[in-house]
Amino acid sequence: MKDSLVLVSRVPAHPDSRCWFLAWNPAGTLLASCGGDRRIRIWGTEGDSWICKSVISEGHQRTVRKVAWSPCGNYLASASFDATTCIWKKTQDDFECVTTLEGHENEVKSVAWAPSGNLLATCSRDKSVWVWEVDEEDEYECVSVLNSHTQDVKHVVWHPSQELLASASYDDTVKLYREEEDDWVCCATLEGHESTVWSLAFDPSGQRLASCSDDRTVRIWRQYLPGNEQGVACSGSDPSWKCICTLSGFHSRTIYDVAWCQLTGALATACGDDAIRVFEEDPSSDPQQPTFSLAAHSRQAHSQDVNCVAWNPKEPGLLASCSDDGEVAFWKYQRPEGL
């Protein structure tokens, strides 16, 4: 287990500050990082080393909490505690601010692009989730303000292939939304976590959703369509979501992030105990009641809380992580034999 997650490189990405989040571009060649120093840095390889290719220092007045690349890879969105979301267009050597999305009453906690590239979602401490539409002229329009959560919304993520949106909140729930007759509605609420849900990740098929929480567990939820074989009840035409697995007893502090590798299915977690863990689903387990085993555990991956883990979308086993210590680390993961 010790050799299955090996450190490749470590960079002081946001010195004297904390690094909050990381995002790989769709081509897997660039990594964007953002942090408490209000900056966004873009990292790429030069030979064997990871170096900083660009810095975006203007744009936000406060912490940049998350960044997200558009599916085409030409745009980067950044969500900030200054209550705005900036959209940056990638030019040859630089990034140019295309527009600033305003409207949230306070800190924006997350931003995510839908797979189609035409929709963007943001969420905030103001308890709302906003859906934005973007047209060919780079014009952004808010098409829906969803007020389903009763507290601070921490994270939003889109389904890999459908126009289905998921959100995680300080109110201990996960909510799902879809478009119904020209309006966005909340179509499911997933209850079970006993504290703040910090992050979410869909599996490659989009049939399952992983959530991680301050309650120190990871929960796996599965979508059941109306008329399903397993006899799981659905209300009307909306699918039902059921918790099919809970990973407990592995993490000793808050789990801040979970990432599901779209290439291999491995599940990585970022924890407040400074560790990174990777789980693999047991191949012989029942799909309706899967079991996961701990495949790798890097106990002191960072010297402080790990805030984010991100699998490279093109290179299997390449994992990036970042921490309150301001550093970004790159890891090579290899599934242990016999697992």
Partner: protein, 160 residues
């Protein structure tokens, strides 16, 4: 007076231990935890109350016994503080929690994880307050609010 005696007894037990007259291993742990707890208390007792011209120690918002230190592993400790707000005012309690966190984050020299709670039964919305002051994202955002930051800075300023 109590504190002087506390220090005296820890010096004494250290002297006994190094001279081989005291039990090692099991006896060492509690002594280290006590010393660490004292280090923490020394930093928080001088924090000023946001409203009154007194320190948290003077108002008995914090006491020596309200600090608990546990060893997580070598060189890493879990610090737990249970404080008693003077009035059941939500925002004040949150503010005190913020001051405690900021002071220790900046000044505590050893590697630690910090949990801050309102001592049980002292507040009607204690669960809500505890959740907020232990949410590091909420704390970070609050400290970027210039007004809030100014108040916290005034409270944690070291006395001359």
């Amino acid at each position: 007076m109590e504190r002087v005696l506390g220090l005296l007894s820890s010096t004494l037990s250290r002297a006994l231990w190094s001279s081989g007259l005291s039990e090692q291993g099991a006896a060492r742990q509690p002594r280290i935890m006590e010393e660490k707890a004292l280090e923490v208390y020394d930093l928080i007792r001088t924090i000023r109350d946001p409203e009154k011209p007194n320190t948290l120690e003077e108002l008995e918002v914090v006491t020596e016994s309200c600090v608990e230190v546990q060893e997580i592993n070598e060189e890493d400790y879990l610090v737990i503080i249970r404080f008693t707000p003077t009035v059941p005012h939500c925002s004040l309690a949150t503010l005190i929690g913020l001051c405690l966190r900021v002071k220790l984050q900046r000044c505590l020299p050893f590697k630690h994880k910090l949990e801050i709670y309102i001592s049980e039964g002292t507040h009607s919305t204690e669960e809500d307050i505890n959740k907020q002051i232990n949410d590091k994202e909420r704390v970070a955002a609050a400290m970027e609010n210039p007004n809030l930051r100014e108040i916290v800075e005034q409270c944690v300023l070291e006395p001359d």
